[in-house]
């Protein structure tokens, strides 16, 4: 006859086994995604040799691109951001900077920086957005338009840009990001190679902190100082580069980063633009695109390609990182809940059967399960149901598996971007790959679990982030 204590033991040990199984499946899926990503990166790099970007640049058939830069309280870096966008190498493009009712001097900086004049503009609204209070054009750059609008959030700001745009391809770029000079040519390539079929393309976002920037270009790539920026470099390589490339090979990508993504304008308008009352507008849009095009049995592809690089500043203070992760998690919960009918729905192909369930069970519920796992293991240890040896072994396996996946992210960067870090950088990255899994991951898991509370209490709040100018200030981190 089993006592109550025995029953508790059975429950706790069973939960332990489940958590262990869960952990094995998560990391093995990541490993699978990395294998797919390596194959895809190899093919992409090989194909790149057959493309002459100058031909694309010269071709009169290259479609017009509208680069939309949403800006909210970005007075410190907006002029440089726009300058970098204006310097891009592309035959026909316009830059649309959209001021989302900033409380600082963003619009004044732009007016001063580009000698802007206010003009009348009739704007149709194929996608919803808040009222536009002013449209400005520059006397020095024919292809620059600045929109001043009432505050409505990032999605609303992007929608305003879409409404004003005249290009065939919409490229969204965050105001705190820099894109490489030939990135537009590279990101436009899938639209040329698979016209009609390509509806969205995501580019690689890399961490700008620590790099040297001159005249709007990244001239020297270095690792930053400080824990938070470095650990995010590893996180970007592991979770963003590897996983996204893997999903893209199956046309099951669920995120085209808001910091740098390209969209077919017609398709974007057809699906209704960005959803305004969400903090995860980039993920929600891609899920909606999958849903719309699959439902309408349209041939489409959403790509992630590794070399059109966008550099972005990552937060360097713990509170800012926490706030950003909280927002990302809330965005994911909102998006997945909004499209929950797609999960395990074979009508949506690999999106419904693979990537949506993966995100639902491992990315959305993952933090909760992980926290539960830690709690149960500690309980089992405290009450003597499991030995100390089991506890250490379990944690060691978890951390080691995580480190392997993080290192694969670093290796993938070498293959995809053909950027081989210095040996000292490699040692530093390996050290942070360890910290990524032993410390950061647990803290991040806690923030993401807390996001459930925030989700129910303040759904659409973004939180603020201090921006540094690209030129930086002497002695101040980041040195971007």
């Amino acid at each position: 006859m089993m006592t109550a204590n025995d029953w508790w033991g059975v429950v706790i040990i069973t939960v332990n086994f489940l958590v262990f199984g869960y952990f094995v499946v998560v990391n093995t899926t990541y490993l699978g995604l990395f294998i797919a990503a390596f194959v895809s990166a190899g093919r992409y790099v090989a194909r790149k040799r057959l493309v002459n970007l100058d031909e694309l640049f010269r071709s009169p058939l290259t479609p017009k691109v509208s680069v939309i830069i949403p800006a909210y309280n970005e007075s410190s870096g907006i002029v440089e951001s726009v300058r970098a966008a204006l310097m891009l190498k592309y035959p026909r493009f316009e830059v649309i900077a959209v001021n989302d009712g900033s409380r600082d001097s963003t619009i004044a900086e732009l007016v001063r920086g580009y000698d802007l004049r206010q003009v009348t503009k009739v704007v149709e609204r194929p996608v919803p957005c808040a009222d536009i209070v002013g449209v400005y054009i520059s006397t020095v750059h024919d292809n620059l338009i600045v929109i001043d609008k009432q505050h409505g959030g990032k999605a609303d700001t992007l929608n305003a840009g879409i409404n004003v745009s005249t290009g065939d391809i919409i490229v969204t770029v965050d105001a705190d990001s820099l894109i490489e000079p030939d990135a537009l040519l590279k990101i436009a390539r899938p639209f040329l190679e698979k016209p009609g079929e390509t509806v969205a393309v995501g580019g690689v976002v890399r961490v700008l902190n620590g790099c040297t920037v001159a005249s709007g270009n990244v001239t020297d790539v270095r690792l930053p100082h400080g824990f938070w920026a470095n650990v995010q470099i590893i996180e970007y390589l592991r979770a963003f580069l590897g996983a996204r490339m893997g999903w893209s090979t199956m046309n099951a990508l669920l995120v085209v980063p808001g910091a740098f993504g390209a969209f077919d304008r017609r398709s974007l308008i057809e699906v209704g633009g960005y959803l305004r009352d969400t903090v995860g507008e980039d993920m929600e849009l891609i899920m909606r695109m999958h849903q719309y095009f699959r439902k309408n049995k349209r041939e489409y592809h959403i790509w992630f390609i590794p070399d059109p690089v966008c550099w972005t500043q990552v937060p360097v203070k713990m509170q800012q990182v926490a706030s950003q992760r909280d927002r990302w998690q809330r965005g994911m919960i909102e998006s997945l809940r909004a499209h929950e009918t797609m999960i395990f729905n074979p009508a949506y192909g690999p999106v419904g059967m693979l990537s949506m369930p993966f995100y639902f069970f491992f990315e959305m519920l993952g933090p909760v399960v992980e926290i539960l796992g830690y709690a149960v293991i500690v309980l089992a240890q405290v009450f003597g149901f499991l030995g100390l040896r089991f506890l250490w072994l379990f944690l060691s396996v978890a951390v080691l598996y995580g480190i392997i996946v993080s290192l694969l992210g670093i290796a993938l960067e070498g293959v995809a971007l053909q950027h081989f870090p210095r040996l000292s950088s490699l040692a530093k990255m390996t050290f942070f790959a360890l910290l990524d899994n032993l410390g950061y991951r647990q803290v991040n898991t806690w923030w993401r679990t807390k996001a459930y509370v925030t989700y129910y209490t303040r759904r659409s709040k973004w939180g603020d982030m201090e921006r540094a100018s690209y030129q930086g200030e002497p002695g101040k981190e980041p040195t971007t």
Binding site: R49, L61, R117, V119, G387, L400, I404, L407
Partner: protein, 372 residues
């Protein structure tokens, strides 16, 4: 049951212990691979770059001061060690992308006589798909006329990369036989989705113009292919294609009509004005918008009245294009546009104000524009 679980836990502990050993090994392997990648690959890359840096001045020197092809080849053969021939090929290819005429002839001669062409032809016929595509690309860059039959054969390969590379190469080579190969392909039934076929045609636009006109007149190709050819007729600014394009303004396909309206504006054929003016009444707003734009591009002053009326079109894009077109039709056009500032409809007034205001800022030093 508790016993079974305890037993299972013991098993799990064994599995975990074993996993840790395996993972340590994997971890060390991945780390070692990273170090190797860093040391070997980047050093190899640096070494290759160093060799290419040595070869580059020699090739530049030949291009600028050695008109004799045989002597040029002799110099390369004797100055570059055979071990560095792979790097030599890269340098030849990078130069071939940027030079033309006699300078390219020097490179082509060296490429041909040092065995690179034979090797690439072998790859195109026998290699794996990617190698075929890459070698076809090389042969095109080097304008190797001898490779034409092999490239033509590659057009029937199942892999789209190979086909596109072969097409591109044939267009670059540009001999009559090479162009024939591309023509046969374009006239054939095989579907190739990439609009980059257009770039191939543009490379040899004079040679392709009659073919494009011929197909447009026949009109037997599938709509997708006809659409591409209509775009190309405009892109190569082929005035002689205008009659065929005008005929497409009556097509039952909205997309073909709008493409034809757009291309007519690019051809520069002022004889198209009347036909374009007519389609300002087309049921498709895309066709009307393109027609309005083209009327401005062609400076069709006779269409001022129709364009002024088009400002009242229900679709904003048509109004906008009509207003912009009027600014391109001299003082008469601008006057007709300015008159519309007095119309009752708010959107129409807005469009006119926008176009005139933008013009003012960009062309006239901004009188009337409000300084912020």
């Amino acid at each position: 049951m508790a016993l079974t679980l305890a037993h299972s836990t013991a098993h799990i502990v064994d599995i975990l212990s074993f996993s840790i050993v395996v993972m340590f090994l994997v971890l060390i392997t991945v780390f070692a691979a990273l170090v190797v990648m860093r040391l070997v690959l980047s050093r190899r890359e640096a070494r290759l770059e160093a060799i290419m840096e040595k070869i580059r001045p020699l090739i530049r020197d030949l291009l600028t001061s050695e008109p004799d092809l045989q002597r040029a080849e002799w110099k390369v053969e004797h100055l570059v060690p055979p071990a560095d021939y792979h790097e030599l090929e890269q340098v030849l290819l990078e130069n071939a992308r940027i030079v033309k005429g006699p300078e390219l002839d020097v490179l082509t001669y060296i490429f041909e006589n040092m065995g690179y062409v034979d090797e690439d032809i072998r790859n195109v016929t026998q290699g794996r798909d990617f190698k075929k595509a890459e070698s076809a690309f090389h042969l095109g860059v080097m304008k190797s006329a001898r490779a034409v039959p092999y490239l033509q054969a590659a057009l029937s390969e199942p892999d789209e990369r190979v086909v596109f590379s072969a097409l591109n190469a044939l267009a670059h080579i540009g001999t009559p036989e090479a162009v024939d190969g591309v023509m046969d392909f374009i006239s054939g039934k095989r579907r190739i989705k990439s609009s980059r076929v257009g770039e191939v045609v543009l490379e040899q636009k004079k040679a392709f113009a009659p073919l494009i006109r011929g197909h447009l007149v026949e009109g037997t190709l599938p709509p997708e292919r006809l659409g591409l050819l209509i775009d190309l007729a405009g892109a190569i600014r082929d005035t002689q294609a205008a009659p065929a394009l005008i005929a497409y303004l009556d097509s039952g396909d909205d997309l073909l009509r709008s493409k034809a309206a757009r291309s007519l504006g690019l051809t520069g054929d002022i004889g198209s004005c009347e036909a374009l003016e007519r389609v300002l009444e087309d049921p498709s707003d895309e066709v009307r918008a393109q027609a309005a734009k083209s009327l401005g591009q062609l400076s069709c002053t006779d269409a001022i009245g129709s364009l002024a009326r088009a400002i009242h079109d229900p679709v904003l894009r048509v109004k906008m294009n009509a207003a912009i077109a009027l600014t391109k039709l001299g003082s008469e056009g601008r006057a007709a546009l300015a008159e519309r500032l007095a119309v009752e409809e708010e959107q129409e007034r807005g469009v006119v104000a926008e176009v005139l205001g933008t013009e003012d800022v960009r062309l006239r030093g901004m009188p009337g524009a409000s300084r912020v």
